[in-house]
Symmetry: D4
């Protein structure tokens, strides 16, 4: 075969192997997706165009395609969520595809998500209004382009870990997102960690790891009683 | 002489020539300062160390040296301020030298200054508490290092022009202030313009230009009646 | 809805919310524009292609589309300008779209504009010829690509604040405008502040803020009598 | 005073304010440390030289100075740790100061730490030997300079979140750590998030946030029964 | 003629001149290829699209086109390989075109190649399984995108020279491959040298040079007996 | 010997070998200088500190040391200049060392120099006053830091070639002179070529090459009659 | 009109105004070209596509279009060349468009050109064979992409000024020509100055300035007799 | 202990572990060196200052310190070299420390070295004179700063692999060696691979790997008979 699918991964990391759709042909995508569909509890492919998705949906009609997120996934009907939720906060409407990639990834990996969108710092009251639902999240993902100030502002207002996702939304000195990335890495608020530009998947996965170990910690402590 | 002091400047731009102290010898500084002292309404030198300043102070005891700002200046006793004031807002205590350079420059050029210091966005309540005095300023200077989010947050809360000064306070991916500079240039809040890293002088001068034309506009409109 | 339009903004900053057209669908643009049309004194959308504009113009025929500026706007017939004007100076014919974005933005926000175009420093006499109209402006916007020297030259000849807009006009070591941006940030002339590459909107808005506070200062001082 | 210490922070974020020692004078450090000592459950200052530390230790003998970490802290005797631990993994002996800053920060904020040092990927067997203790951690911090490959390798072997800290250890094309930073941001292993170059404090704090919410989750779920 | 084909090269460097197909017209390609076909022991053209290749294949049917590698070549039937082989190791399926360019180049220049593909470090067991065939190679080429950690891991496990080829596979902070390139240049494993991003040809050629001098060394030592 | 002095150079390029003093020991400098003194028509060493110069001056008292330029040289008494001169124009007093390195290099290589210093564009009248002497030069060297606008302004006013030398005079976004360098490379005025940051030597040498071929052209044309 | 054509230029700099075709419409190009045709001794437009050129050629049939150079020009029949010539040397066939832009520009401005193409340093004998014609040129233009070594090698072999033109020919770490540009700026051979990436026009113009002042120098010296 | 010395390395890679002296204390260096001295066939430490070396030399007098290379090593008396040699070629006298680090590393790892120094391309005849000894080497190391053209020129003249080492020798746009590094990565000559800036050790080690596998290949082929 053209690829060594890492089916060993779920056992090693507790998380399923995920397909990175970019640059794969429709044929490769279908083959890999069906393989994951058979051997794993869920199947997830990111960066998938609607066109490529169609072929897989025909072969595997129980899968679903999420347009904004560019995600193709299959989750068995009866799968539930861990207790608690992840908050996905985003600055502007242009950041939506990345925010949705993060949200859909986290959901597919077993975490409920609360979406708080279009609350950039240029209109601070919009964020303040939503602080309650953000503060009670197990972990917070902040998605922003431009100067990315939202990550620092949120980081200073909550006590849970904040995962910042810089987006490529901007122009000129924005340098394709590099500017936002640097900004978030230099956050004056402690408790902020960063993933790659536009890497909604990475943030969703990282958040699910936090959420899962939180959940396992609970189970272990309980078991220890 | 070793330099063509631009004594023509006040007539051309309405503002005095200013000495950039960096890299000048004590002797050069003294000569230039005394020349400005004689021919201009005020004399101002920036980036001056205490050591270099001493020699000038001996020769011109009516001058004063501002330690934190690194500024040496002479202002005649009876000079007053234009109506209104400039707000100088800064994020952390390490940004103080740049904030003071901005403040002292603006004062020397005829504008009263209100200082609002150590109000970085990681503790948002500190800023909110001071919004009244910031909102009533003729123009606002925001001095910040790290991710520089303060500029965007202030920009979204006032209707006067906001001059953002990135500082070199930070480390690693801060890249000597480049990161803050890029961040401020990509501010999601309209109404923010930027000067060079650590350029408190430039911000103070720019603010005084705004303030002065505001004042002149008033005088002209009055005169026109 | 897909977006939290910041209708609270005019009250907070004295300026209307503006639509950033890039990346929005025709449908989103229309919805947002009509919402602003209803609730604000003016409606403004930037970075709008002719194609996207058509749909809005059909729904709101009293709006107008400015081709070169890429701006769609609606201004009630009887709106006037503040006293005085903003000078928009540009270096070459390729910088025109950015210069027009700045000019149209400032006009929409209530400031009269004088345009002084194609006066780059490689033919200095062209600029010198126009200095009178530039010197009498309330504030000056300088739009230039290549090495951006025009900002420094103008900065040294006027006493009003100079807002420099680097453009992406150039190639090779121009780095998409970064080169001009850096150049302008290092201007040897005091009194120059900078906005993002190609950010005509930002410059126009910033200039209007200066102009407005100048005007308010006048009104306040008068009222104080 | 010269600073607005954010004493409100513990209530807002659940974590104490921390002093950033760099650039503060000995006098400022002492004043701030004693203020935190009085009002918070623990007191922590990072980037403190031995020389600066001495003055505080004299005034507050119950504090302790950690040489390698450059940390000054005070923890009341009877404070215990949350269940579970954080693994701090580092690549080479030169990365030790950053690893220790991370470890000491996490400990001060209530998390037990297991140290797994000098296990860089050029000698993979050293890492493999320690995988058991790494796999059972609540969260893993990976500290590395050079090409930072350790973060990806660890990320592919565990199911807990991995916080990567690039260090400035390297030369030439290492660009002061930028190279490692970029490398870690592009990790081919999911579940890796990144903090600023040499920011051991940020990683320790972020890990403690994860650990704390894990612990709280447990308490809440228990309480919910 | 439009080009001075370096037919003198084989005599000077022991290796044939090779055509760089990028930017050449179909006509230029054909002319050059036929010229090499006549005067050299093999003919090789890289970065050739299928479309451009067709014209040459018609004129020279004994040539062959390698789709994935983008390579067009002609090797006389009876040419054999040197003893031993070069291992071409790659991280992911997206790196295949570059890996194949390296492999096909080396083969054309007289070296047998073993392909070990899709063994990125996020699933380390896949690499470990193949170490035997990698360890016995005369020289190893490692092709990887993202953070490029594979080069360091392999470098620490073999005693032959490792040629690292960064690929442009990645996004955001990957900077078109610069990030992988920097990473590989800072490898903590000794024995790793690097070629340009996506330069499979360069790696294949370099490896063949190593292999050839190894072979010649053998012949010389034998002859010396 | 530790170095292969290129004594063959004068014959090959018509110009003497020059010593680059940076990083050479006092002993190495002396040995090389005396060797050049013997075999060439002039001897020149750049980037020489006063301290290093002393030792050579003792051994070769007919040499002279130029403090500002950091140049050590020996020219036989009776050497004259070519007809015409090179204009060295500089922006500010801090650019003097580089301007002097250029001037002294050109003089040593046989060209008379006219110095026009401290005529930066922030005070344009200073430059305009000196245009006559600049316009009549055989070639013009422009030395400037900050935004380097002087090169473009001069380039647009003369018909001789303009050699631009960016200096490292500036701070923050000046990036050690990179900003000026980029600016000069993007000059909107044709007829400007650029040398490395602070490379006064390179500019002086290049100008002398122009001047010499001009002179030789004259002699040849005359001879051809 | 949309542009202020600088017809004053020939008198000021001795060289005609030139049209930069990039980004101009066919209509604008025609208007400007015809205006120059009337008022200047020659008319020149660079970066012109064949498509745009057609319209002008119809309106002004005595103009000619140079495909490879992308140049449109009109030269009166009876114009001759100055004595002597400029050598245009280029490294590879992909650099031809830039080399031709340089050559055609110089020719249009009155200098005869000798072309020495495809002599890159990877086959040094090709260059050595042509050194005679290069050495006798009044000035040398070196056009190269990749690592640009040709500039240094030529610089060390001639005594006339060498103008280096980096091209964007390359990939990966070539960074669109930045790599070649930096390389040429750091040439170890004295007597090399550099223009922007792909700026064949700039090099041709600069060379013509050298050549013209050389010629004028001759005339002046003669006249002085 | 503070470090996990990789004593397993010789068995795994055929090469001894080497100490990177930078940033290690004198005490750490001594401990590690003595450990290697006992367990390996040779002991090698790079980037060691004379001061640090003294302490080790006292404890282990049979070790030797190489000043220019900054290397401390111990080789048993009776160790010989493999057949053949490595050529270390360098451009200028300032590159000597890096060239010596490469040479001494290769020698310590069992390869004889021929040194060809100060043969930069600005005086090409110096290189041509030495081509015979370079051509007969098993592998060639080229050490150069500035524009690094030497690597390409040598690469085009030999048929063995060329390892290019960029050095930090240069200033301004040299960017601490980045410029040379990029240049070498873009070499127009095939058969050139690159190591980190100033990484003489890496080049020497890589060359020894090539040399050793060459030697082993010989032994194996012989054994196979
Ligand atoms: N701290 C500063 N940063 C940037 N520019 C400055 C500063 N202080 C003074 N200047 C400018 O430097 C000019 C004087 O430069 P110089 O002739 O070198 O002393 C003044 O006209 C100011 O425009
Ligand atoms: N080593 C460190 N690196 C980055 N941030 C730090 C570090 N130590 C403390 N901080 C942050 O700096 C803030 C205090 O800054 P300051 O008010 O300047 O002392 C704390 O609230 C922390 O969030
Ligand atoms: N200030 C300088 N900047 C750049 N290159 C220089 C400088 N001074 C001398 N050179 C060059 O350095 C060469 C001598 O270098 P070296 O053999 O290292 O002394 C001379 O041939 C000049 O081309
Ligand atoms: N000069 C050098 N440059 C880069 N890497 C080196 C150098 N010297 C030694 N090394 C590497 O550093 C490793 C030892 O690092 P450490 O454990 O920190 O002493 C060795 O195994 C070598 O691979
Ligand atoms: Mg919005
Ligand atoms: Mg604080
Ligand atoms: Mg024009
Ligand atoms: Mg080690
Ligand atoms: Mg895979
Ligand atoms: Mg001055
Ligand atoms: Mg060729
Ligand atoms: Mg030399």
């Amino acid at each position: 075969g053209f690829a060594k699918v890492d089916l060993h991964r779920p056992r090693r990391t507790g998380f399923p192997e995920v397909i990175y759709g970019e640059g794969k042909t429709q044929e490769q995508l279908k083959t890999l997706f069906l393989k994951l569909r058979e051997s794993q509890t869920v199947a997830l492919a990111t960066r998938v165009s609607r066109e490529k998705a169609e072929a897989v949906l025909t072969a595997c009609p129980e899968a679903e395609y999420l347009e904004t997120a560019g995600i193709l996934r299959w989750i068995p009907k009866d799968v539930g969520y861990r207790p608690g939720y992840i908050a996905v906060v985003c600055a502007g409407t242009s950041d939506l595809p990345v925010a949705e990639e993060a949200a859909a990834t986290a959901e597919t990996l077993g975490s409920r998500v609360e979406r708080i969108y279009d609350v950039g710092v240029s209109g601070l009251h919009r964020l303040i209004d939503q602080m309650d639902v953000i503060r009670q999240a197990q972990t917070v993902i902040v998605v922003a382009g431009m100067e990315g100030a939202l990550a620092s502002v949120v980081g200073g207002l909550v006590d849970s870990p904040v995962i910042a996702v810089p987006t490529s939304v901007g122009y000129g000195a924005h340098l394709g997102g590099l500017s936002t990335l640097l900004s978030m890495l230099n956050s004056c608020a402690a408790g902020v960690a960063v993933v790659n530009i536009d890497n909604g998947f990475g943030a969703g996965h990282f958040a699910a790891r936090i959420h899962q170990t939180q959940h396992w910690a609970t189970l272990e402590e309980e078991a220890a009683k």
